[in-house]
Symmetry: C2
Subunit: 402 residues, 2 copies
Amino acid sequence: MIKIAVLGYGTVGSGVVELIERNGALLRERAGEEVSVKYILDLRDFPGDPYEDKVVHDFGMILDDPEISILCEVMGGVGAAYQFTKQALEAGKSVCTSNKELVAKHGAELLAIAGRMHCNYMFEASVAGGIPIIRTINSALLADKVESITGILNGTTNYILTKMEKEGADYRGVLKQAQELGYAERNPEADVEGLDTGRKIAILADMLTGKSVDPDKVATEGITKITTADFAYAKAAGMTIKLLARCGVSGDGSAWAMVAPYMLPVEHSLGRVDDVFNGIQITCSMLGDAMFGGKGAGKLPTASAVAADVMDCAMHPGRTVMRAWSREEAVLSDTAQLESRFFLRVKASESGAVQAAFAGSVPVAAQREEDAGFFTPAMKERDCQAICAKLGDAILNRIRLV
Amino acid sequence: MIKIAVLGYGTVGSGVVELIERNGALLRERAGEEVSVKYILDLRDFPGDPYEDKVVHDFGMILDDPEISILCEVMGGVGAAYQFTKQALEAGKSVCTSNKELVAKHGAELLAIAGRMHCNYMFEASVAGGIPIIRTINSALLADKVESITGILNGTTNYILTKMEKEGADYRGVLKQAQELGYAERNPEADVEGLDTGRKIAILADMLTGKSVDPDKVATEGITKITTADFAYAKAAGMTIKLLARCGVSGDGSAWAMVAPYMLPVEHSLGRVDDVFNGIQITCSMLGDAMFGGKGAGKLPTASAVAADVMDCAMHPGRTVMRAWSREEAVLSDTAQLESRFFLRVKASESGAVQAAFAGSVPVAAQREEDAGFFTPAMKERDCQAICAKLGDAILNRIRLV
């Protein structure tokens, strides 16, 4: 009998408990023994809840119970979650988490403890819950080198951008609607400014580089400046706009990571990953390109990912499954050095000046009078920035091209 | 030091040897010891080949060499490949294969031997080489129930259909071109009649049902009857035509599997999986829908999948990783009972009669004089078949809708 504890009885926590209950027979068959939830840790009480009797408030009970071999940390945050995870791993108990902030910040340390104690720190649910990307990198691409990853990793911003595109609605209005529907938080900064996405790409970059990528050093640009006018030009060019997280390791071993809105062709494999879906494109030296899509969040998809980690721990007692990355900080290349093409939306009256300043740029025709659009040739971010600075308020918006 | 033998030095075999050589440092780091190819078994000699000295002609040498713990069977066929695989597994050596025919036909038996001998029979490369679908079902969805799978699993037919769609070219001409380019075999039946696809979906259905699905009993329809006229109607309706492999387990536990061309909206997640790419959509009870895309074949993508299996064996000595399925035959539901909508292309002169016979059918407008197109309402395959039989040669083609 494998007994687990669930830390945090919110949306994901209740999903994990529900899944383990509903799929009990299947889990027993696959793990070779029964898997059941013994404790649910939460500060609140849940009178009337079917699992009311499992709720405890004292983490010590869980830590000291030798029957508990696996914990699901679905509390979030880097305070108590960090302390509890560390203590559990040091006691040789495996921890499965959906907490991207904690993995991005302390992953290397926690994985090292798991390795030392022959248990596991698993985090499939921390990035794109409905896509088994962590397992794919950790074990499906065992013989291959992942060179780069491009992903749509945040459902809230993807929902907003999709609505803006399909309905021609403006950012503020769609955000408000998303908040009313519960798709966006009342305080939406972590999503719309790209911080949530930045943490997720930092985790993937950790796995690619084998070192610790500081999520605070991932160059991040959000979606708040994207307008319906930008979408009008994108549409005229057969393109769309998505918030992309990207990272890679260049031939010389240097690593880079960034989050920003990009214009990309609708036929691009991420071009029609819409609404709350996530999509990840991965480029490997042998396999070439592979693409994964699925729900990014939601109670049951996330719970399915956490529970798959629980099963992996249950089936590998005494054995560390996840490859760790080192605590040494990965030095990220300055993104100002990265090259791409840019879309520029400029004041109509300054259209000639912009075209002159960006030699080789191509106009994008959209039926608008107020502004004009251009695609620049491929150039370094720094150079584009410098020319735009000179042109001052002639430049209304600037969006990278994939 | 982990020493392996590669059985068959064709395209995939040479890819495996090349990959293990090129990624040696990475494999050593991940496996914790060196991985190297000791033998290459082939009937031919390869004078001048850089690995000429590893080529042997006698399987006995490999079988009797205690240094060899892992074999890659990339010969194909169900004759010698079956005998060699069985002998190796019975000697406790793991086998990694790309041989879909063998896995589809004798998978249950070979997995049982591997389980008994505490070694592994691995077959990631047998279905959609560039997509880690076997691992995903075996270990990423450990806590979830896969309800159904729909895939584009054959690059040759997908290349032909894509060319027909994009260039308005007819089947014969595109097939000839594909043969000249080496994308289709000189004897293309196994691909174009859907047999190759049928074997692959049988393997996935084995994993879903936990029983043995006889590949010869998978209802299979090829692409040879698809015409440019069908694509004209598909285009008019915003759709395309793909050869889909589908399988599933219904709520009552009954299983079904089939291969047939389908019309599907271009926005469907498989609608723009074009050319030689493969795509797989998977529906789980908790996770919902997930989608995977990548190269279906090719030397290095397939080699990457075989080598990932080798690494998994290397990292799990004495431990069986793959869940086996039973040798008991899965009883497949009669596909005549399955329900779907159908596209019918009919003689223009018989258009009225067809519309009368299929109450509730919807005309599809395309600029053609010779024929007319209809979408039927959802109906059982058997019922559609019966009405079509009555209408005789008024029906020019019939294609299922997704």
